[in-house]
Amino acid sequence: MSENRPNSVVYRPGSPLRDPAGLFRKLGADLLACRELAWRLLVRNISARYRQSLLGYFWAIFPPLATTAIWLFLTRERVVTISTGAVPYPVFLITGTILWQTFVDAIQIPVRVISESKSMLAKINFPREALPLTAFAECWFNVGIRALILAAAYMYLGFTPAATVGFAVAGLFAIILLGVMIGVFLSPFALLYQDVSNGLVLICQIWMYCSPVIFLPRTDGWIGLLNRWNPISPLLCQTRDWMTTGSHEFLPAASSVFLLTCAGMSAAFLVYRIGLPRAIERLSS
């Protein structure tokens, strides 16, 4: 329904994959064309969310703070003992949970944004790439809020971050990209089946305990195996190290995950672009 739409289009049956070059060209053009719409939707989502809520931005920081509080309590009471090397445990913990929450957001926000746009998708032809873009930007908005909380926490705990803390932005970028990739990939299916959103919540909870969020990464045993094959693990550890110890230990692994994520992102957008009209035809009517 855009006035800027190209002047001639043909709708034909069959998979758009038969012309991959054309498909990627259109995908790129649409991604460029929808920036303004994405921005508009972002402003709408954020202002609407916080206008109808008494506690406002609190909800963006509550989950990591709660996890931190629980685990601090558990370690103080010596229910569990966790060694985190040079970094004080509270710092390690709050940094890890905030990074983890950023990742979970990045998976869930695209799914949420797209599900919430159901009726719009079913009735209006607009550049649909705007929705993942909006989700991506919303993740950064949340990162901004959490960064303030983290800074306050560091100050309170009397912790000085490592000189490499600036690199953390790159780490966050990789974390968000990985999450959004998963979210974008899942969203056509989430439009069809409610189970996807429900399942995501559960899976993310389990996933957290398979990731080095509240403990140091291990190399031995089952946890070691899980940590090694867990794509978020090197990204999370490297970003946390940049913020706390300044070590580059996980950089090679994190870089390979990042490169794979970039490739995966194109695949996810492909699934999105092909899958969405198929989901929409099942929604409408």
């Binding site: 709708y11 034909r12 009735k123 198929r278 099942r282």
Partner: protein, 409 residues
């Protein structure tokens, strides 16, 4: 003639009746597309049917085409494919020009935000840039007649106000072809007139229209061409008047010839009386299969009562598939202060229509016998009947009994 602005060629689309299966087919279609399955696949899987079956038509610049058909005929599905929401399963749709659709007004509206903020969101969804909206904001607010409410949250708007805002934003588009699906049946009369004025401005500028409406009056005044569909198939196309006529005659032919009472005509639980039959009598008192427009006929209800009763009213509500949920006719003997006494046993309650003013077509009636308001003695619903063509009728909404004369003045 120049190149068509919209060309629909042998388009087909499958749909599934069963939701669970439909969703599963959705997954398998996505998988099929991702592995690049054959270009055309028209095998009908279980519970599937063709919602659009071999439809072809062209729309030329400046032309208006009516899509005619009953609910579920496939009109909206076809419009959605033309709008590019999803692809056809067979055939081809070519659009040469900027296309806009008035299918849903106010897309992307958020109730918490103010009217002004929502204008920006809605306009962005419709493809307008921020600068364009800045320039047109005043015109939009003025068109919607909402200047004093524009900074109020949308959730405090009435539904009519929301529609006005939605249309005001959409009215800023200047497409080459505009798809309209029933959205104009909303708002008050004055605003509707304004919408039509805006559409006629667009028409003068050469915008082509594809219009879905159940109002034959609208279709006849706006469109030149018609495409009539039934169960996904196109059975008539051409000049709009002829297409509408063949649609109507088909409607009449497909319906049953006589009045049919639904199967549950036996006494409804707890109802003292029982409706046995419903039929028409002509002016000579003969039972007729169909009354005809412009001639006198009586709507007769044969019923049985266990005892004599006073002050009984016959209520008749008549609807037509062409008019949605609105009543075509709703009359009660009670409101006319014409309540009647009924005897014990079988009796016939007659409503004389002098003459029958309903246009030819298919109708459904709901009748009830009532003693007091809400005290229902008997009820029968979904009684279908046809009215056939009697007097010359034209494209009026109803038949008006009339005389013509000229007197010297």
């Amino acid at each position: 003639m120049s190149q068509p602005i919209l060309s629909v060629r042998n388009v087909r689309k499958r749909f599934c009746r069963n939701l669970k299966r439909s969703l599963w087919y959705g997954i398998s279609d996505i998988a099929g597309d991702l592995i690049g399955r054959p270009q055309q696949d028209l095998t009908l899987r279980r519970d599937e049917f063709l919602a659009v079956d071999d439809v072809s038509f062209d729309v030329y610049p400046g032309e208006s085409v009516a899509l005619i058909g009953r609910n579920g005929a496939g009109k909206s599905t076809l419009l959605k494919m033309v709008n590019g929401l999803f692809l056809p399963d067979a055939g081809e749709i070519q659009v040469n020009g900027r296309l806009a659709a008035l299918i849903e007004l106010g897309a992307g509206f958020n109730p918490v935000l103010s009217g002004r903020e929502n204008i920006y969101v809605n306009a962005a969804v419709l493809g307008m840039t921020r600068r364009e909206v800045d320039r047109r904001l005043e015109a939009i607010v003025e068109f919607a007649e909402l200047s004093s409410f524009i900074d109020m949250p949308l959730k405090n708007y009435s539904s009519g106000m929301r529609v006005r805002l939605g249309f005001a934003v959409a009215s800023q588009l200047e497409p080459d072809i505009l798809l309209i699906d029933e959205v104009l049946a909303v708002g008050d009369a004055a605003f509707r007139a304004k919408c039509y004025r805006r559409l006629s401005e667009l028409m003068e500028k050469g915008t082509a229209f594809v219009l879905v409406s159940h109002s034959h009056h609208t279709l006849l005044t706006v469109c030149q061409k018609g495409v009539a569909m039934e169960r996904g198939r196109m059975f008539a196309s051409g000049p709009v008047r002829e297409t509408l006529e063949s649609y109507e005659s088909r409607l009449n032919a497909s319906g049953s010839e006589t009045i049919s009472l639904p199967a549950h005509r036996q006494a409804v639980d707890g109802m003292p009386c029982q409706i046995l039959d419903v039929f028409f009598r002509d002016e000579k008192g003969r039972v007729v299969e169909t009354p005809s427009t412009g001639n006198c006929a009586s709507f007769c209800v044969l019923a049985r009562s266990p005892e004599p009763m006073d002050d009984v009213s016959l209520d008749v509500v008549i609807r037509s598939p062409g008019h949605g949920v609105a009543n075509v006719l709703s009359v009660t003997a009670g409101q006319d202060e014409q309540r009647r006494s009924i005897p014990e046993g079988t009796f016939e309650y007659r409503l004389a229509l002098n003459p029958v003013c309903l246009p030819p077509g298919q109708y459904t009636a709901k009748i009830s016998l009532n003693r007091k308001p809400l005290h229902t003695l008997a009820i029968a619903e979904a009684i279908s009947f046809n009215v056939s063509t009697g007097h010359p009728f034209g494209d009026s909404l109803f038949f008006n009994a009339r005389d013509w004369e000229v007197v010297a003045a």
